[in-house]
Amino acid sequence: MYLSSIYIDPKYIDIAKSSLQPMLEGAIVNTIPLTLISFIIGLILAVLTALARISNIKFLQIIARIYVSIIRGTPLLVQLFIIFYGLPNLGVTLNPFPSAVIGFSLSVGAYASEIIRAAILSTPKGQWEAAYSIGMSYSQALRRIILPQAARVSVPPLSNTFISLVKDTSLASLVLVTEMFRRAQEIASQNYEFLLVYSEAALLYWIICFFLSIIQQFLEKRMDRHLA
């Protein structure tokens, strides 16, 4: 009865239409930039962490392990709250967007580092040996031979991470970033059409993720083109 009235009553279509613009704005101004920036920084962190984990230097190994353990062992929301609401107690006050970027970057860095570490370790030992046998150093072998191959293997799980990140950015609403979900919350708290507005937000997230998964397919095809 309520459901059927959504389809029949034009009032709901108007509400949906008028909610669309602020939500899209939130997506374009905050959700997408937040995702992109955090992912890029996170990836850089992840590569460094992965290399630290596999290096022979005990000190680097330990630091990397502690970092990954802390991030994986605590909820992302709690991490965001500590950065945004907690740091001011130490005299460090950050705006919502930078807080969110730091939180998400650290999170991506930790999870993605395990993906990259696994990808590096899955590269056949013979590749290292062939690189060494023609005189390459560790860093030359890593840069020219191992990482390019690890990158191909990493595309599916890292795409997963990226798509998850898009949805995780909804948590940024709780540290006052006016991204897409916070806009939805603001709209719904005014017109009380919770089901409609939140479903619309969900649909928008789904559409964004759908396009991302198409990009993933394209990337995988491109990277596999000469691996027969």
Binding site: E129, A130, S133, H226
Partner: protein, 244 residues
């Protein structure tokens, strides 16, 4: 030109090389045969320090590595430049074409210019009979073709000695011949080669010397005719009988 003195290699509890002394003159082809576990592959891999010996000295054309002391990474890298290795499983770089595989060493390690490296790589690929497959990726090549690219890649670094680790063991029988032919040609051109193989006919036709290893030691070494027809040691006889 190559001298191995008192080489020992221990993996945890297992001693794989128990004191190897070997000299190889320039331009000679030495074939190492023996049962699995004899240490022949480990010995080969010690020569380009893919395995680090526990003890002993390896000299190639006057450059020595003494493993009773600590050996620096730089020293190892420059030592590796003297050798070229061909692997049983080819180990080509899958994300690079045949010619890029061959060019990689000269460009990245020796700092050669792309154009001159490309020309030399082209020459090497033509030499191993793959001039028409330069732009192919390893996945598009047969095993024998991949192995020949592997040989060209090792030759591109202009090594003093070529090390072959069972180069044809992973190949279908009909592809073995094309690889052995390239190796024969190399030998005829005077390349110093150390080959671990089970291809006894290759040893008979091409080797200047055959070394039989068993249990981590050199049991017998002699000219091929002597080893195959008049083996002096019981262990050698047993091994050769098993192969028939």
């Amino acid at each position: 030109m190559i001298s191995i003195t008192g080489l020992y290699k221990q993996f945890d509890q297992l001693e794989v090389l128990k004191g190897i002394d070997l000299e190889v003159e320039k331009g000679k082809v030495v074939v190492i045969i023996g049962p699995s576990g004899s240490g022949k592959t480990t010995l080969l891999r010690c020569l380009n320090v893919l395995e680090t010996p526990t003890k002993g000295v390896i000299s190639i054309e006057g450059n020595s590595l003494d493993f009773s002391k600590n050996v620096s990474k730089k020293h190892i890298a420059s030592f590796r430049r003297l050798t070229g290795m061909v692997f049983q499983s080819y180990n080509l770089f899958p994300h690079k074409t045949a010619i890029e595989n061959v060019m990689e060493g000269p460009i990245i390690v020796k700092g050669e210019g792309k154009a001159s490296a490309r020309k030399k790589a082209q020459g090497l690929l033509e030499k191993v009979g793959l001039g028409d497959k330069m732009t192919y990726y390893p996945a598009q090549l047969s095993g024998g073709q991949q192995q020949r690219v592997g040989i060209a890649r090792a030759l591109a670094m202009e090594p003093k000695v070529m090390l072959f680790d069972e180069p044809t063991s992973a190949l279908d029988p009909e592809l073995v011949g094309e690889v052995l032919k390239v190796m024969k040609d190399l030998a005829q051109e005077g390349m110093t080669m150390i080959v671990v193989t089970h291809e006894m006919r290759f040893a008979q036709e091409v080797a200047d010397e055959v070394v039989f290893m068993d249990g981590g030691v050199v049991v017998e070494r002699n000219k091929p005719e002597e080893i195959f027809n008049h083996p002096k040691e019981e262990r050698t006889r047993k091994f050769l009988n098993m192969l028939q």
